[in-house]
Symmetry: C2
Subunit: 286 residues, 2 copies
Amino acid sequence: MPDLPPYTHEPAPEGGGLLRVRLDLAYDGRQFAGWAPQPGQRTVCGELATAVQRVLRVDDIRIVVAGRTDAGVHALGQVCHLDLPGDLWPGGPAATRRINAVLPADILVLDAQVAPAGFDARFSAQYRRYEYLISDSGRHDPRARGSVLIHRRPLDVVSMHAAGQVLLGEHDFAAFCRARPEASSVRTVLALTVDRRRDPRDPALISVQISADAFCHSMVRSVVGALIAVGEARITAEQLADFLHAARRMPGFTTVPAHGLALVEVGYPADAELAEQARRARRFRG
Amino acid sequence: MPDLPPYTHEPAPEGGGLLRVRLDLAYDGRQFAGWAPQPGQRTVCGELATAVQRVLRVDDIRIVVAGRTDAGVHALGQVCHLDLPGDLWPGGPAATRRINAVLPADILVLDAQVAPAGFDARFSAQYRRYEYLISDSGRHDPRARGSVLIHRRPLDVVSMHAAGQVLLGEHDFAAFCRARPEASSVRTVLALTVDRRRDPRDPALISVQISADAFCHSMVRSVVGALIAVGEARITAEQLADFLHAARRMPGFTTVPAHGLALVEVGYPADAELAEQARRARRFRG
């Protein structure tokens, strides 16, 4: 293995007899201090690295992830990659089975495969899609309360969806991001939908789905907080647009809790485009 | 209030200025030692009685329930009744809101209404419907692991459904019940279905649904254990029929864990039939 510190987010070196493996993951975020390793904290990356190291008998391992989820945020379609000496790789089904056998019950490897040439879990990604679940029916499933925001007042989903469309496209999302000096908050929102879905366990569960090239910190939870204000007629669609265009953090803005949020999909281009997409993204974000 | 011990399951006295209230409930069974009050244990009935007593300022309260769920079993459509002095009743929406405000997050009152004449939550019920959830996809949602049995081998759902049809009708279900001396294990199964459903969080979640006039102890979990054996081709449909007709507990029978099970519906007849249904059921089960 190259002499790099574990769990960094640097692009991996090409060549060197290493095999790049793509892992697709799901996890229940409640008992994790987020994805990113932190001393003394239980993190998704830390638990995954421990399991992979144990199963594949490697000493340290670098895991590069598509979406660094915050504390308490779930994932159903997280993607990461790691580089291994090729002779250690037992094949996808065996790796999936063996890693899952040692992982705790709140993380699951959905799939493990050798990545196509040019693949980088973080930089090849074209978009991330998050879903936030809200129940305003007063008839939620108590079993799902760890992944659904229980909201006591009825929400106007049609207004929320309509108002949210102003966020589509490239904007400075500073109004919806925790400020980070020297970091851009310009992002491109590709899709935003708010609708009720026929969930077998809740008659009218509200699903807010947002896809973007990338998200800045707390962006989805701030946007959902603002959409809830629209859904309760506390702010108008015009005020939401004004917030966006002001491009600075608004006082009194509500950020909804983490437990309703899940990273549901990471989108990649066709294999032939992976390397070029990674080059573009590195130039833009790196 | 009549001088009766709290939480008994005797039919409530008629008249006496009392108002009978029907409560519809959902709960996450994981942190409960079942429905029925037990000294020193956290139970659904105990938590509900405490909340109702606090909100309505009554000293003790008898709660009669349709389905006495076991430890760890969930409910999405539990029904119970209680009798109150009419002047204490604040009306259904206010009662629902106020009781929910003091209940712990794992119990929810879905609805509270004055019951129609002749209604008895237990004895007026025509059927109880339970659902057992199984994921054999290897791609379950980790957030749902508290309400789904994770099964490592693929199951043949079509065989399970077909074999299960032998259970329809009136039979002695002793093969599927924990033996209780002096208690009949004759029950009538009204419907049994095994199918995969398009769950937004699991590509092929298996739902086993069983409706019966009533269930004896551990009956659904024993039936599901036997159906899983059919789904893995460990026993045939004919052997399942032989188990049923032998009418005694089979050695080595697997009872699946409680956390996959939920009481999803209690069925009642039209209001005009409630009293007669209760009289019939009391004669048969009382």
